[in-house]
Symmetry: C2
Subunit: 335 residues, 2 copies
Amino acid sequence: MNSDLSIALDIMGGDRGPEVVFLAANNILKKYNTVHLTLVGLPEALQNIDSSMKGKYRDRISFIEATEVVSMNDNPLEVIRKKKKSSLRLAIEEVKYKRAHACVSSGNTGALMATAKFLLGTIPGVDRPAIISAMPAVNGPVFMLDLGANVDTTPNNLLQFAIMGSIVSKDIMGIESPKIGLLNIGKEEIKGNSLVKDTSKLLSDSNLNYIGFVEGSDIFQNVADVVVTDGFVGNIALKSIEGVASLITYYVKQEFNLNLFRKIQSLLANSSIRGIKKRLDSRRYNGATFVGLNGIVVKSHGHSDSLAFESAIDIAVIEARKDLTSEIKNYIEGL
Amino acid sequence: MNSDLSIALDIMGGDRGPEVVFLAANNILKKYNTVHLTLVGLPEALQNIDSSMKGKYRDRISFIEATEVVSMNDNPLEVIRKKKKSSLRLAIEEVKYKRAHACVSSGNTGALMATAKFLLGTIPGVDRPAIISAMPAVNGPVFMLDLGANVDTTPNNLLQFAIMGSIVSKDIMGIESPKIGLLNIGKEEIKGNSLVKDTSKLLSDSNLNYIGFVEGSDIFQNVADVVVTDGFVGNIALKSIEGVASLITYYVKQEFNLNLFRKIQSLLANSSIRGIKKRLDSRRYNGATFVGLNGIVVKSHGHSDSLAFESAIDIAVIEARKDLTSEIKNYIEGL
């Protein structure tokens, strides 16, 4: 097998069906010629893969048949107990048994996190895994965590999130010493709740490049390279950001469709509008990594189309090449 | 004096100087012909008011001279102790001594809240005042609170915020029984931290039209008329929303200024672009009310221009006409 890196893909997880994963897989196999992909899904879904793609990449593609699928409404603990042959679980098992360097799924976030935690376990010295993703900003992506893995968080958890975020930023953005900001309601030391005040002390005493408190609006101005917060605040901020971005897209569409004159304007302004759309394209930011586990698990958005799923696989490829898990392990051991 | 309603304006609070307040005041006096305005500021600032405006509205405008100004960096407690003749404080005193029905300031939020709390006190039965403001949504504004007055909040505080938010929504939007949503990281009952879980029980047992948990993205879809959250989360969500909206505006400008061809496109698409700008115009949403105090205090954004400041005065006028303070008092007494 002429491949150095293997990624397992759960083809059953997303709203848009396995076709999206097949298209993304095809692009990935074309783009990276030493990457191997393992597609995990129900037999009837797997058989729909394009036969020319299957033939063309036969050396770098393999298949695992699952007997069941995790739905968006499944309870995470029930999934662990009962859905042992689901595509979601079998994809993670590929990572657990070192047959894959990472896995990607668009499935139920809670079930994916619970199963990954159960099968892979957390890195020694890491108390809680977290969810990290890139956010758009003026001068390029900023990483933010935790985006919803934990609702009750201690200062020490947040310190560990900062460490892991720093490593992810270094790996993906190539920043030597990423600036760490702690999300708060003001920059002044007296501001905030006891969680952020206590965490700020820990971060100041750490070896990280801690720059202090940052506010919600600072995320998009590259004030920090990594923004650290607890999962409750992080998830609400993330969804508020997604929500307002959709609202604005809706406004833009409405204004350009108000009447015939406006429709003509939109044709004339086509290249600018496409440029704006491209910049606002959340698909380019798809792919949230579960950090702190003994293995790389990337969560793709449930509504992902093929471009979005491809972005998530890209993240998995970069993190696997950098061996993110070992990097975090080594850093924590060295403390 | 042929006026039935008086509003005190701190002319010194904003970044853009008293001129902005004068322009807004002029529009307000023109728009509402029974509203009286009291302008509070340093003598040298007050004397710059346009003399024709002063003449035209002489029956509905009065002036109070302050001897000092509260800066953005002043510590709130120091302001209470030492800046007793500041424009910020004298404007609130107009409300305290019933010479004005409401006041508006673009000044230091912390100092404004602390001084208002100190001078006016909270309504009996309200433990903590909160900050409420309108947010843009697909089918018209949604109100959200607390936007940053409190960092440590109990379920009972959040119940009180919900009551006050419901009254503000009824007054300003004319909705008979506003839908109340509690901001959380998912809609399912098992989701969230103990604060939201306990609050949800209280809200279910209340007389409010409580619809359950809402997520960050739901704010912009009018899922609820009032979104309730603690001040830490609310402030971070608010600033994240403002931040991403600015980022998108920046993208739009950049795309239409990329080259000469794009600039021509932007001229051709002028009316659509203006329409989009208007819809995204945060100035139309300016004006956050401090609810739960014995008097109406409206905080205008520090960067407010005259249109934004005018929106904040509009909010004060509506709330004063509805006698918001008595409405909240009566509701709480009736519990």
